[in-house]
Symmetry: none
Subunit: 158 residues, 2 copies
Amino acid sequence: MTGFYGQYQTTLDDKGRFALPAKLRHVTSPDGAPILDGTIILNRGLEGCLSIYPENEWSAIQNRLSSLDFTNQDFRYFSRRFYSGVSPVTPDKNGRVLVPQHLIAEADLKKELLILGVNRWIEVWNPDRYNYYVQQYRGTYEEVAGRLFTGKHDEPAE
Amino acid sequence: MTGFYGQYQTTLDDKGRFALPAKLRHVTSPDGAPILDGTIILNRGLEGCLSIYPENEWSAIQNRLSSLDFTNQDFRYFSRRFYSGVSPVTPDKNGRVLVPQHLIAEADLKKELLILGVNRWIEVWNPDRYNYYVQQYRGTYEEVAGRLFTGKHDEPAE
DNA sequence: CCACTTTCACCCACGTCTACCCAGAAATCG
DNA sequence: CGATTTCTGGGTAGACGTGGGTGAAAGTGG
């Protein structure tokens, strides 16, 4: 069983670092090697969070993007926003990573952080922002599950 | 005959642990091996309970999810809520599992717990919440049975 | 091109928490 | 009624999270 799971709270210190929860650091790929060893990719995420990908997942996303067409203006917009947020980081001896100041600002991170394991990647949230996201989302957890699994998914909200 | 059945009450101790009832621990797959041996998957369930899957059942769910795509906003919402609730646990020597604090809070678990065997999985409820769920559900047990087996099921409540 | 300032990577140290283990109490079964 | 299993409480060693200090490197201004 592999992938990132669970929900953790931790703190951002004065230097802009936070500790990746040990449970996430110890997640291994099927062959038993720790996934988060070495360099990982920190990036601006969707809905106002930060996302963290292991390096191989990052390559997969990059491949997907590179197949798109630069004459498309949505592609250019997305690329600008996407790549400019990228920050490769290596955890220190205590498993902490340093978050660039502009990402702290964009994700509105304060001292208290909420870390989510979301299978292939990890997300970092301002807890208030996450609660608001959950609370205002169209439909409850049960309803969304229903939409997803009955195939009636992803109509625009309005 | 295999699968999880029955209803049990147990207690959550000060450390956030509870004992899986022995009757459930001893349920075996058709080949005679105990299903709950080793790692089991504790997760946020629907309608405000916690759910417990054996590992193979969990893989089946994950496979179903993996066909979906992160560009779908319902998928992102569901993934966040779903995976963040997951906690793989291994029962200790005495058959107890530790419940993460945020799941205790979300399921509103107090000292008294209600454990339900629901065939492929197990559920953990705050007894009051379960009683309320049963009592407020649209239609009685008999009516729901009728709807289900005549095919007129899952219309919205109103 | 040099000197000063700031930033960051690396390391150490300490308080807290938790995974693991042991043991006694209660319940169940023959 | 005795033996065995199940349940519950608690102690302890080691892991984990957090704060901070220091030297090297990068950035800035003269």
